[in-house]
């Protein structure tokens, strides 16, 4: 194609896009709780009055901020994708959204008088910190899958802390749920006034660097040899990307996927070169976001569905498609699980583990209702007294067994995916289960809460079913599985958010459940998890030799006569059964499946028969300990164990991300 036809095509597409944006904006302006008809709007907007007030004071600012935010996110996406050479990079995959959310919530709770008054600034800081953290953890290579996974783990980490804060400070953070999922609601022009300068500056810097970015895509070496100041160009691009993303987050909350989709759409239209890429992406980002908001208000008129949830709902499948394409390209890559062997003899390690388990369990059993057992209580068998026996003992034992199940689930998934960061959360089991439960709560508000576990099971099964189906043709390729998991998780969380808005006040039990809780677990719960454990753990043990072989790579395993696909699907099914069972009993407790096997691997190496027993012990210990801390620290108030795990596990996971 000659240069002039390219230019003509570009101008034509720009015209089409502009028209589309204009139409969607008009539809957007006609929507709202005041319910004015189009005729009323057209006739009365020109004169002083309510209609004019509503349009000028509420609806126009909303549409303008939507255009600015969508555009800014898309441009940030272009920049991030170019500098990281990563088609999956965007503000949300780099953890910016979660960071901003956490900072805003913390400021509101802990410094309502000072920092709480400057939500823009605080969100900006949060987004910047989170993206710096992800960059530091990923290291220089910036390889796509790793960035996506690291971003996801950081986001998970931040959002679980945010979740715990919201739960503990229920009244203080009451209204923040909506913003936490992104909303375009504006009351006046102050949001626009704040954002417009930064966004224009960010886009401006990007456009000025467009030529240099073009050269950069040829590769850093070529760029350097062509006399480009590569480092400076990259630094400017990073700064403008962070500026754009953080500004948006601070004004409209975390909105994902626009930054991912818009640049891809534009590239698919055949737009090349950064200057047109940036301009077109801005336009399409705006169209996407406004359309998402129109859809959200059309689905639930009169109420705010977070627009961020809408974009995730639309964007999740898109990410799947992208992951499918990217995963193919990278399918040869393998991640080392990494492991050391400490010189301590294995039986000794096992004994030590068992001793710690007994001590932690005994300590936990001895504490309740604000006091510990004395030696006399132990001698008098106080643990057999009716209430201790009915409430405390089954709860602690259930926690132990669930901890074991989660750890085993982690062992299996990490073994199969050859990825040390795999756990039930990464494969979408957790958020799928959560979505199932929330849909159930909203669809059947009158139904007994006893059925909640089944709804969670179904949700988890559906999401893993989708993942397995989509990856079927690649013989369940590990990296592809992980990426599909990220996409399905995003859709699951979007559904959770939309359902929370729909369910209104009834969400308090749901929030507690989502946070993961060992609260009030009885002997009947213990029976269920024990049965699951007795069936699945021996099966996992039986698979362990094959898992060992799998770590040598597909070719070697196949050469040794193993059916790789069959082993994978068996192990995954087993892992899913364990994960889903745990989710259905205690809600979404993350991190244990990630943490326990990984920590044990550093002690005893990668051989599964050595790994499994110790991981089971550690998983149990961790959850019992978390349950104990949750009961002890604010007694008589209880903190959900899932939150304790998340908060206590944070330092280790950050360390782990740095190391792997």
């Amino acid at each position: 194609m000659s240069k002039s036809t390219t230019r003509r095509k570009s101008i034509f597409l720009f015209g089409v896009g502009f028209l589309l944006l204009f139409i969607t904006s008009l539809v957007h302006i006609s929507q709202g709780q005041a319910g004015y008809s189009v005729m009323t709007l057209l006739t009365e907007v020109w004169t002083n009055g309510r209609v004019q007030d509503v349009v000028l004071g509420l609806r126009l600012p909303r549409v303008v901020i939507g255009i600015l935010a969508g555009g800014a996110l898309a441009v940030a996406g272009v920049l991030l994708q170019t500098i990281t050479k990563n088609p999956l990079a965007s503000a949300s995959t780099l953890g910016m959204n979660a960071g901003a959310h956490l900072f805003v919530i913390s400021a509101l709770i802990f410094m309502p008088g000072t920092l709480g008054q400057f939500p823009f600034l605080v969100a900006f800081l949060g987004a910047a910190c989170a993206s710096l953290l992800v960059m530091m953890l990923v290291g220089k290579a910036m390889e796509p899958v790793r960035v996506a996974l690291t971003g996801m783990v950081v986001a998970l980490l931040f959002s679980s802390i945010t979740g715990s804060l919201q739960l503990i400070f229920e009244n203080e953070t009451n209204g923040l749920f909506l913003w936490g999922s992104g909303t375009l609601v504006q009351l006046d022009w102050s949001g626009v006034q704040f954002a417009v300068g930064f966004i224009l500056a960010g886009v401006g810097i990007a456009l000025l660097n467009a030529k240099s970015l073009d050269v950069l895509t040829l590769g850093e070496d070529i760029a350097t040899s062509l006399g480009q100041p590569v480092q400076r160009v990259k630094a400017f691009a990073w700064i403008s990307a962070i500026l754009l993303a953080a500004t948006t987050v601070s004004v409209v909350g975390p909105i994902g996927f626009v930054g991912l989709i818009a640049p891809h759409l534009v590239r698919m239209m055949g737009i090349k070169g950064h200057q047109p890429l940036i301009i077109h992406s801005f336009l399409w980002g705006a169209i996407l976001l406004i359309t998402a908001d129109v859809l959200a208000r059309w689905i639930q008129p009169g109420q705010e569905i977070p627009v961020g949830a809408m974009t995730a709902l639309i964007g999740g499948p898109w990410l799947m498609y992208l992951a499918y394409k990217t995963g193919k390209k990278h399918s040869r890559r393998q991640t080392k699980l990494g492991g050391h062997t400490v010189s301590m003899p294995y039986p000794l390690l096992l004994m030590a583990g068992a001793m710690v388990a007994v001590i932690v369990t005994a300590l936990s059993v001895s504490y309740g209702a604000g006091s510990f057992f004395s030696w006399n209580d132990w001698l008098n068998q106080a643990y057999l007294s009716p209430f201790v026996w009915e409430f405390r003992v089954p709860r602690i034992l259930t926690a132990f067994v669930v901890g074991m199940l989660l750890a085993m689930c982690g062992v299996l998934l990490q073994g199969v995916l050859r990825n040390p960061l795999a756990d039930p959360t990464v494969l979408g089991i957790t958020s799928g289960g959560g979505a199932g439960a929330m849909i159930f709560l909203v669809l059947f508000p009158a139904a007994s809460i006893q059925f909640l576990p089944f709804a969670a099971m179904i949700g988890a099964a559906v999401s893993i079913g989708i993942i397995l189906l989509v990856t079927w043709r690649s013989n369940w390729e590990p990296i592809l599985l992980a990426l599909m998991g990220v996409a399905v998780s995003a859709v699951g969380s979007a559904i959770i958010q939309i359902m929370v808005v729909k369910a209104k006040m009834g969400v308090a039990p749901a929030l507690a459940w989502l946070a993961g809780s060992t609260y009030a677990k009885s002997w009947s719960h213990l029976q269920i998890v024990l049965v699951v454990a007795l069936i699945t753990i021996p099966l996992g043990w039986f698979l362990s030799r094959k898992l060992d072989l799998l770590s040598f790579g597909d070719d070697v395993s196949t050469g040794l006569g193993m059916n790789v696909g069959q082993t994978r699907i068996l192990a995954i099914m087993l892992g899913v059964a364990m994960g889903a069972a745990s989710v259905s009993i205690v809600g979404t407790i993350g991190f244990i499946g990630l943490l326990a096997p990984h920590a044990v691997r550093r002690l005893v190496g990668v051989e599964h028969r050595r790994l499994i027993p110790l991981s089971l012990l550690l998983g149990g210990i961790l959850l019992v300990a978390a349950d104990f801390v949750g009961r002890y620290i604010l007694a008589p108030k209880e903190i959900p164990a899932g939150l304790v795990v998340a908060v206590l596990g944070t330092p280790y996971i950050l360390y782990l991300l740095r190391k792997t």
């Binding site: 309510r50 007030d53 509420l58 009451n174 009169g302 096992l350 508000p445 006040m505 009030a520």
Partner: protein, 338 residues
């Protein structure tokens, strides 16, 4: 080594499984025992026995419960209105900051944890004769609570559209009174409340408002955006307003289980001719903070004409008869200030 470990593990698991089954049978047996006891008591037709209905069915009490644990604030104040101090209450700090009534909790009432996940062992340690809570919160731990003591579950937000929240409140209050054998006290509290409505009605009429129409809202901010709960006709608070002679103008057009719909400022022009009564926390006053610069808000008739009536942050719109009295006092107070 490995094989031995496996065997050991299976053994331990099996033992726990057996223990689990054992534990469960005990529970069933004890439940059966209580049922038998109940039947025996009914057979002898004890004059003391009281049978009441809650959200999950009928419950019979042979003796008057003396030690009561209340896990929802509404039932705390119901008890206080009857002159009964509960032995345990969930989230006392929250209760004190959200509920403002004349009766006060004794110093020695024990805090039993959060309303969402109350500390079961703490409750058990108080050895209550009765636990009162809301069904929507604690349906999942019904068995556990009933293992500790007979438990009454009420449903403050009836999904049956023919039962108004106000009627539910009165009925629950009477039910609790019946169980704790304070029916006379309950009737006198309700009579006092009715008298208060009549008195307030006259006072409000005397205040000669520009209009008798009102809209009631509870507002808070969702980050920079204020969210307003506009109360619908089925809400208890709306009905209290109607009882003192005011006329509600807001209706969302659909059944709102909790008695309000959440809206933003755009919904206000439709009701701008009414009196605007609102509950807002001092540290989150969306009307003075975020909405000051909003032209829609500023131009609303009730803002322009000074028809704004703040009820105070601790006016509890979801409570029992005593909260209703506080609310009536607040209404009269703000109306007469004009």
């Amino acid at each position: 080594m490995m094989k031995t470990w496996l065997r050991l593990a299976v053994l331990v698991l099996l033992i726990s499984l057996l223990a689990a089954c054992g534990g469960n049978t005990d529970e069933q047996e004890s439940a059966e025992n209580t049922e038998e006891n109940t039947e025996q008591m009914e057979g002898t037709e004890s004059t003391e026995a009281v049978t009441v209905r809650d959200a999950f069915g009928e419950k019979t009490f042979e003796e008057t419960p003396l030690k009561v644990v209340a896990l929802e604030w509404t039932y705390v104040e119901d008890l206080l209105a009857l002159g009964v101090q509960p032995v345990g209450v969930a989230d006392i700090e929250g209760y004190n900051s959200w509920v403002d009534i004349d009766a006060e909790l004794d110093q020695d009432v024990v805090d039993v944890g959060t309303r969402q996940e109350p500390n079961l062992e703490m409750i058990a340690e108080l050895e209550p004769d009765l636990i009162i809570t809301a069904g929507f919160r604690h349906e999942a731990i019904q068995q556990e609570l009933e293992f500790i003591a007979p438990t009454l579950f009420f449903d403050p937000y009836p999904t049956d559209e023919t039962v108004s929240q106000y009627d539910e409140m009165e009925e629950t209050f009477r039910t609790i009174a019946k169980v704790v054998q304070k029916e006379d006290e309950a009737e006198s509290v309700l009579e006092e409340l009715d008298a208060k409505y009549e008195e307030a009605k006259e006072q409000i009429a005397a205040a000669d408002l520009k209009t008798n129409e009102f809209v009631l809202t509870q507002a808070f901010s969702a980050n920079q955006a204020p969210t307003l709960r506009l109360f619908t006709p089925n809400a208890m608070a709306t009905q209290i307003f109607e009882k003192v002679g005011l006329e509600n103008v807001y209706d969302s057009g659909q059944f709102e289980m909790y008695g309000y719909s959440e809206v933003n400022v755009e919904a206000l022009p439709a009701v701008e001719d009414a009196n605007f009564f609102y509950v807002v926390q001092d540290d989150d006053n969306v009307f003075e903070n975020q909405l000051q610069s909003n032209s829609v808000w500023q131009n609303l008739n009730f803002v322009q004409n000074d028809q704004l009536y703040p009820l105070g942050g601790d006016a509890w719109l979801f409570g029992g008869p005593l909260s209703a009295m506080t609310l009536v006092d607040r209404i009269v107070e703000v109306v007469e200030e004009e």
